[in-house]
Amino acid sequence: MPGVYISFPFCSQKCTYCNFASGVFPAELEARYLRALRAEIADHAWQWAPETLYIGGGTPSNLDPSVLASLPALIPNGPWAEATLEAAPGSIALEKANAWRESGINRVSLGVQSFIEREIRGTGRKHTAQTVAEDVATLRGAGIGSINIDLIAGLAGQTEASWRESLDWIERLAPEHVSVYILEVDENSRLGNEILLGGKRYGASSAPSGDMTADLYEFAVERLAGLGVERYEISNFARPGFESSHNLKYWRFASYVGFGADAHSFDGVMRWQNPESVEQYLRSPRESGTPVNAAEEKFYVGLRLSEGVDLRDGDWAKFEAPIRRFTEEGLLELDGAKLRLTARGVLLSNEVFQEFLL
């Protein structure tokens, strides 16, 4: 069953680690964007009934609850088995959470990133560990049955001790789902760019090394497993039964349709991408699609899942050489017809995936 993604790329500040097209835009643009977004959804010819909904950002939780509710209202087949809203901690009052719940939202993903005040300030965010704790309580009170907390490994100022402390908070708050992202050091984020340039802004000089970040990630994998929160995808961890069924669609090649700037769609044959910037999206919402290359995606997308890929479906013969090489090198393992990344292979997955490009 397919999924729906709605993109709302507006934020109250641009985080230093962010390398998306999200950001702070004039209020006037926001109103125009919402109109265009509603029009795009209204124009969509539904050929199937959505099973999951994901409202991501940006910071859609900043929207007035009634405005926000107008978006799911346009999507057929509610209430959905899973409907996620991305939310910034520190802005969630009970009425707001209740309104979300009433509009069909049953899962909230909190962009916490860190529980350590110094690290949070470094990113440009304003919450504290305490506000996150209050938010979790509020969401539970409103009947949100599934909560995700995002963490980033590799933030400026992060140490083994501070990372442990963030994970202690995970234990305390017991979210059903945790995402652990590794900071992407590239020129598209302010922090990444500063690290590349060897500068000091945004605390870049105190960011842990790549090797250390790898250690932090592995430490988190172990710690979360101890809490019964298992890795089911490279950066996604959940108590059994609480995996994000929307996100799983991406890796299992189910269909999804995306609305809004930089939203992506897949119908099983073609992939589409809406324009990345809000301005371009307002000018012309949809770009042309490209046919999917199922053979290679099966590996570089499918192998991200801990369950691995089943070699019995599809044509894997042409990848025999890399499969043999990486199983010998201990980055991949074969379990019957199931091929998956080993623990070491996860951290070196790009090295593996490259060899599955045609």
Partner: protein, 603 residues
Amino acid sequence: MDREFIRNFSIIAHIDHGKSTLADRLLEVTGALTQREMMEQVLDSMDLERERGITIKAHAVRLNYKADDGKMYQLNLIDTPGHVDFTYEVSRSLQACEGALLVVDASQGVEAQTLANTYLALHHNLDIIPVINKIDLPAAEPERIREQIETVIGLDASDAVLVSAKQGVGIHETLEAIVNLVPPPRGEVDAPLRALIFDSWFDPYRGVITLLRVVDGTIRLGQKIKLWSNNQVFEVEGVGYQAPKATPLNELSCGEVGYLFANIKTVSDAKIGDTITDAANPAAEPLAGFEEIKPMVFAGLYPVESHEHGLLRDALEKLRLNDSAFNFEPENSVALGFGFRCGFLGLLHLEIVQERLEREFNIDLITTAPSVRYRIKTTAGEVLEIDNPTKFPNPSLIEQIDEPIIDATVITREEYLGGILALLEEKRGVQKKFEHIGAGRVMLLYEMPLNEIVLDFYDRLKSASRGYASLDYHLSGFRVSPMVKLDVLVAGEPVDALTLIVHKEVAHERGKMLVERLRKLIPRQMFEVPIQAAIGNKVIARETISAIRKNVIAKCYGGDISRKRKLLEKQKEGKKRMKRVGRVDIPQEAFLAVLRVGTGDGT
């Protein structure tokens, strides 16, 4: 033309002392070129020449000048290459002249290259007219430079022409000096033809075009000519002169300079310095001074993409059509695959060929460390000439190694002496002369191994002197030296392309530096990679590149698959540009590391 009114001259100058500007002025004043044409002319010449401010090929331009005595003169300006690698070509160009302008920068003074070429000109009995250029500069000291020319070169500089080519000052005086001080050509009008080839290049429509100076007799359209060195006979299909546009004539007579084409197929048939004579009525003796040019510096050239091997061969063949001074033969490297061993006149020559291959033929190249040619006497009594380090015989089979030695002249300022003397010392130089030549300048004469020059000497000299040192050298012989072969092993595998021949006493230090540098240049791999330097079986230095810990996209993109793919593709592309040796991906720059291995600072 009556020989009385012909003047053949060239210009001797150090880089940046204003040779081209002066030449342009002479062309402009004599009406050979309008200003607009001058721009076009400049644009026509080789990119590399303009960028580097050097002359690689010789040119010959005829200027018609009406002198103050009211008579018309034919002035032939022969522009020569100005670099130590091309000494032989320079000497042939000078042989075609009776006089030379010695252009010296009014603030910089005499440089080693100027000195070397002036001596060469004196050797050919040329009359030399000192020209002090750039007198418009605030730092100009024409009087001191005049003195320096007298003390250093021993020329009378009291009548030196004071010029600012840039501002057009002294151009008329220069032309008058050429007319009055350069003697008209001598030679026998009625003797059998003898003409000197001083340059040649390949033209796709005409075949080889040669520049020549008629020494005796006359060369005519339709004449059957013979090339002395190879006895080949050709029929003259065209003669003429460049002004600078090609102007056809029916003949070139005794004393004149011009071009010729005769359906000659390759430049190696029309060798620089060779004598052209009449096939039916040959001269008794060739002109003096012809030599077969011998490469002195050798390097392996490999395509980064192994499938471009054929392209590289075609490109080398095309370049060779125009440059008979370099040679190449197929070579096979375990690390780099199929490539070519190439011989060059010197490092600049190597760089020129390399850059032309990359620019004009679009081939990504890996160049192995330049080497010189060693003479090795084996215990079996054989003498081998080895220019490829990987072909060095097993040490137990070597009786004696002789390495080529050069006489190097360095001119610099006193304040840079400390660094330069240390450098010459480090490069195993032996001082033969140390002379103050006035104006705070020093001339050093050193005997040193050519091997030490080919790695990083130029760069080091430049940085030790902030660019205020000039170098000239020529081969002076061979010397017995304890040389050893230094191998590099990456992940246990010897990488033949990184092999070096070094003096035994510096082997440890060089090996250590080389592995340190490679550690920084080779990216981390999925496993630990030891890098070792070894002499024979003995490891003398070792560094380790630790295994890469992570390369992962750990982030969720709302179903954005293309972004992931782009990143993976980019990484994969990056690896393609590296050479895989065994299991290790080695970037191009790593192969250049050997070039910098003598540099003390390690960066």
